[in-house]
């Protein structure tokens, strides 16, 4: 009121109250946003305490798809910022792991390295590692995602499910880079995939679903109890050995008792890794029946995970 500029605003504010509002016209005329605003006019947001377990609101997720892409792009962009080697890290990690295990197995069992058919051990392992790292990278990213985006979550609304979903998309970029290297490796070793390669997207999808199922549980739990920050690396480390990554299922099948087999095949990643080998390396069919329990486990985890996440989501801003 002592300020000249402020006084002029008093006038500007009171004008719309006196004259009929031009608002609908203004929002309609705002070009590209017109569609959103137009549909937004009919949009009613209801705010109340929700009760019980809620399913995922898919239409809302669709409305926020641009944010999902933006957040995934952000994470991809900053992933190798201020590094010298940049995206080559996406290759170096599986490559080193593959070399270490190649060396190890050529010392332990030089005659019969655990590989499929007559594919070189290095190719078979690198192929499996790609699938495994896609999962491992995704759950690592996802489990910390809610906590990392704390400042966002406490300041603005969006479906929280966007956060872990975006972080699961990030390792897909690494996967793309690694995949090119695998193709190169296959070319050098003269490995040619058969028609089965058409099934590869299915196994990539299965890997992503696995990561999503585990990641949703981990990130929601991590937001509540930071203990899960320590559990995730353990899952990744132990998981690599109970999954046929550096060996094949074939190579241990004969050594497992019946109940051990039953337990082993509950691991959904077995299907991913064996599926990768089958579809890319053109080897014998994977043990389909053995992959079924794991896939069911994934679906159960995924459905329960989304419900649990939705439950935590409601008051996540208060607790994270």
């Amino acid at each position: 009121m002592t300020d000249q500029a402020l006084e002029s605003h008093v006038e500007t504010v009171t004008t719309p109250a006196a004259t009929p509002s031009p608002a609908p016209k203004a929002s309609g005329g705002s070009g590209a946003s017109g569609g959103t605003s137009g549909s937004g006019a009919g949009l009613v947001t209801r705010i109340r305490a929700s009760a019980g377990w809620q399913a995922v609101d898919l239409s809302e997720m669709w409305r926020y798809r641009e944010l999902l892409i933006h957040m995934a792009m952000r994470d991809i962009k900053i992933r190798y910022k201020q590094t010298v080697l940049g995206a080559s890290w996406a290759v170096i990690q599986p490559l080193m792991t593959m070399l270490v295990f190649s060396q190890l197995f050529s010392m332990l069992m030089p005659e019969r390295k655990p590989t499929v058919g007559n594919i070189p051990y290095s190719v078979s392992t690198f192929c499996a590692l790609l699938g495994w790292q896609l999962f491992a990278g995704a759950i690592t990213q996802a489990s910390g995602s809610l906590v990392q985006n704390q400042s966002l979550i406490t300041k603005i609304y969006f479906p929280r499910l966007i956060v872990p979903c975006a972080s699961i998309l990030v390792p897909l970029a690494d996967f793309g880079v690694g995949f090119c290297v695998l193709l190169l490796l296959m070319l050098v070793n003269g490995v040619v995939p058969g028609v089965a390669v058409l099934a590869l997207p299915l196994f990539i999808l299965l890997a992503v679903l696995c990561a999503m199922a585990v990641g949703l549980w981990l990130c929601a739990l991590n937001a509540l109890y930071r203990d899960f920050r320590y559990i995730t690396p353990f899952i990744v480390q132990a998981g690599m050995f109970i999954t046929p990554v550096v060996y094949t299922y074939q190579s241990i099948e004969g050594k497992l008792t019946d109940w051990q087999k039953q337990l082993y095949c509950l691991n959904p990643l077995m299907g991913v890794v064996e599926g990768f080998r089958w579809s890319l390396l053109g080897t014998a069919q994977p043990p389909w029946l053995m992959m079924l329990p794991g896939t069911i486990v994934v679906l159960l985890l995924l459905v329960s995970g989304t419900y649990f996440f939705r439950r935590v989501e409601r008051t996540i801003a208060d607790v994270v």
Partner: protein, 387 residues
Amino acid sequence: MSDTIIRVNGLGKRYRIARADLSRTFVEAVADAATWPVRRWRQGKDVESKRYGAFWACRNVSFEVKKGEVVGVIGRNGAGKSTLLKLLSRITEPTEGEAEIRGRVGSLLEVGTGFHPELSGRENIFLNGAILGMPKAEIARKFDEIVAFSDVEKFLDTPVKRYSSGMYTRLAFAVAAHLEPEVLIVDEVLAVGDAQFQKKCLGKMGDVAKQGRTILFVSHNMAAVQGLCNRGVVLKAGGVVFDGSSEDAVAHYLAGSTEGGEHDRPGHFDLSRHENHYRRVIFKSPLDQAICSFNTSMRAIESVKRGDIERLTLQIPRIPLLPGSYWIDLQVVQVQGKDSPIIDYVDRAAPLQVVAADVFGTGYSLTSRDGLVYMDGQWDLKPLDAA
């Protein structure tokens, strides 16, 4: 015209005070869950409220906002303003009650939400826009406008971590200012940047209001509330205590805050432990702006020594304040390099009422409309020479 855009009905949010449950470990949580039936059986129904004190950050809040209204929400710290905004912008769910908002909602609880330090200014504009709910096409269309508003053209491709805090804030506000939702929820964002930028922001908000959008504006800045809003809601202890014109709301808030003043507060601070300090008296305007202040280091008055009981008197021969109600704050400030931490602060220690009087003897009496401070001045009227 008179359609209701925001309808809030008995909204309330309860927090638990003894929030030990949040930092507890997973093992404890599992143990808790396992023993819960036993505890419930032993202690009856109110297990939860016995373990944790309930605290209602806001309760029974009801009001309606019509299209095109610009509503200022004011209240002292802890009155529930921020909680109300958090509920209305859906950041957290209410414990009871409900609210309904028609149209696209944009909420601005912080400037630069989601800015990533590693990304460039350009990238952050798109990211931040997406977070605030702007479609990509809309951001692209307004991009030049946003950049011009922010004054950071030269540094668009520099990571924002290398920005000065001023540049950072300007860019962040520029994005936010170009949001075009039907309902805008704003919290204190004007408390950033230099005076010129603040004025620009207020101007932008005024423009938004002019377009007939509905705004809910939370602020401590009474001048901004009076300037921008045509309605004011005063919150106190989590409930609405006043709802009316913004002028009346500000007046109500200021009147109410007299009770809140800490008139005779005993000091419990051992000042002798803080070697180097000065004491300070601040005169504040009705709108909480400091007008002038006196401190003891100006006149080289020594710090308090151990065991001393002193009376410190400040004499002001003439107080050049124009009519209005002012506040006097007292502070003890540690002298310590650039940022001097405040050791003790009695906010609104005493009110000061300056009444209107005919000081010039011309029949004109000064009022608060004439400003805050009286300055000596001489008018002189002479015919202009035709030379």
